[in-house]
Amino acid sequence: MNRMSWFNAVSLTLGFAFLYIPMVILVIFSFNESKLVTVWAGFSTKWYGELLQNDAFLNAAWVTLKVAVFSSTLATVLGTIAAYVLVRGGRFMGRTLFSGMIYAPLVMPEVITGLSLLLLFIGIGLDRGVFTIVLAHTTFSMCYVSVVVSSRLVTFDRSLEEAALDLGCSASEAFRLVTLPIIAPAVISGWLLAFTLSLDDLVIASFTSGPSATTLPIKIFSAVRLGVSPEINALSTIMISIVTVGVITASLVTKHQVAKQKREEMEAVRS
């Protein structure tokens, strides 16, 4: 392996410092003894203990999780159907318009999406709560799912579906038994993307949440406005570790699978 040039080493260090120093500081201060966030007064894990006593935070976390699971699942179903129709539906009236409209929310400012949803919910007299947040999150994350799934479907070998039809499947059986299992990785990553987007959304949730339901990002944001407490640092550290573990696991699993597939293909060629 080539040794890294000093220029590359410096750029790399600067880049990573830029990305990670804020988080490292946050993690360090979550173990701070002092109540003052910016003054170090020795190591302690007491803020983690207090966090577990804080019902408001725990409730908000539970609401966030529920919203994320429901909305990402709903978004995955709708987004996959939309992607399938857009890629496979052949030519139909308004197809270009329809596919443009599917992707529009990607570039729409969140404030506008949030505001319009709020107006809609008020207009049809829907009480704001968990249900409305789920609907709102589904609305904006389904287009992300649709983008991920349709990019997989474009490269999908059409003759696999034809083979399924040829061997006696109805169209829906072909989708269930052949298409879906093969595009499953894309559907799952679509779901994960929708889940993540829902977890950290603040703007749209604050428009569509009601007094009965507060999500964690809203809770943190309103708490910070009264001053940053070490409890929030602890909470953020927990979230960071969950994300880190998730990302590392996912990449290890993928790496392992790719290596396994390569090995098996090599064996197939040799035999």
């Binding site: 070998d157 003759s159 034809e162 399924a164 039809l165 040829d166 061997l167 293909e265």
Partner: protein, 375 residues
């Protein structure tokens, strides 16, 4: 007549398995299949041969049910199949890309169609085992498609499409992805399996050697039309047009005008100052009609001296020699500027070869060696 020969197309009593009646397929302005009428008989190995874009794949996809004819009807065993969707047809297809389901094992791939038929479980097992034996894949039953080699994948695709006992099996360029040696072996395997199962095979290919090897009859297509349907030897020996003669194998084409000279015998004048060529042809030509003499290079002899008895002999100069190991092709330039190819077996070692570049030689052939074709 030899009654044991398989020639249902010569039997006026025989009912075709597939009957295309004036079938046309248009995509907008483009005509893929142009008013086509053909019959394919049971147990035939029927090859559709043509350059890409000639409509052979469209024809096959209409049989599978993925395309519907714009005009005309297709009958399978006497039944009009236009309203029958692909999953209800007793027709199976082997795809060019094989289209094996990557998430299923070899065993499950072969069982896939049988499960859709709601066949009892142990019958499925028996049938899959039978197909694995037929295609010599017993050892690979538990493997996934990416865990086996290209040739094995090809056999899985064949086993899967044969598992449901189709009346008709369609093969879309089945050997295109294999290397040459494996392809030749597999051609004989295909013929063997076709004979064992007695299924009617329709194969689409652009490889004329493959079509000649496997097929009972070859249909040469161009621009959505069938140009000629005949057994491989008749396609090669008596092509009905310059297009077929040129598409199948190597051929010399000499242009001239016909002059009848007895029954079925013509004297073709082809160049001023040269004796007319004697040709025997079943195709009728009138006096002075323009025509082409098509003659295969292996039917042209090459010699240093003028042969005494040959019906036709012309003198020329060797322009080029293509050495292919077992045979050599000599490109001989005539004084008229035309180049005629002559093939000779290399019965002696190359160092002792009689002719070399720039040598003056005589080319000769008999009156029955070539065919006379209209333009």
């Amino acid at each position: 007549m030899n009654t044991s020969a398989f020639e249902p197309w010569n039997d006026p009593e025989a009912k075709p398995l597939i009957h295309f009646q004036n079938v046309t397929k248009r995509y907008g302005e483009f005509t893929a299949i142009d008013n086509l009428t053909i019959d394919i008989y049971e147990r035939e190995f029927y090859a559709l041969l043509g350059p890409s874009g000639c409509g052979k794949t469209t024809l096959m996809r209409m049989l599978a049910g993925f395309e519907t004819p714009t005009e005309g009807t297709i009958h399978l065993a006497g039944q009009d199949i236009a309203p029958v969707p692909p999953n209800k047809r007793a027709v199976n297809m082997m795809f060019q890309s094989y289209a094996l389901f990557p998430h299923l094992s070899v065993w499950e791939n072969i069982a896939f169609g049988l499960k859709r038929e709601k066949m009892p479980k142990h019958d499925i097992g028996d049938r899959v085992e039978e197909m694995l034996r037929l295609t010599r894949l017993e050892k690979f039953a538990r493997r996934k498609p990416h865990q086996i080699s290209g040739g094995q994948r090809q056999r899985v695709a064949l086993a899967r499409s044969l598992a449901k006992h189709p009346k008709l099996l369609l093969l879309d360029e089945p050997l295109g992805a294999l290397d040459k040696k494996l392809r030749q072996e597999t051609q004989f395997e295909l013929m063997d399996i076709q004979e064992k199962t007695g299924t009617t095979f329709v194969i689409v290919t652009h490889d004329q050697e493959e079509a000649m090897t496997v097929a009972s009859r070859v249909a040469v297509m161009d621009h959505g039309k069938i140009i000629q349907v005949a057994t491989p030897d008749r396609i090669y020996e008596t092509p009905n047009s310059v297009y077929v003669a040129d598409f199948i194998g190597d051929v010399n084409l000499i242009e001239g005008t016909a002059k009848p000279n007895g029954s079925d015998v013509y004297a073709m004048s082809w160049h001023e100052g040269h004796a007319p060529l004697a040709v025997q042809s079943p195709n009728g030509f009138s006096d002075g009609q323009k025509c082409h003499l098509a003659i295969r290079p292996e039917k042209v002899s090459i010699s240093a001296d003028k042969p005494e008895t040959a019906d036709n002999a012309v003198q020329g100069k060797i322009l080029d020699i293509a050495y292919l190991g077992n045979i050599s092709t000599y490109h001989v330039e005539l004084p008229t500027g035309a180049v005629i190819k002559a093939q000779a077996a290399n019965t002696r070692r190359i160092a002792r070869r009689a002719f070399t570049w720039e040598d003056t030689v005589w080319l000769s052939w008999t009156a029955t060696a070539g065919v006379l074709l209209a333009e």
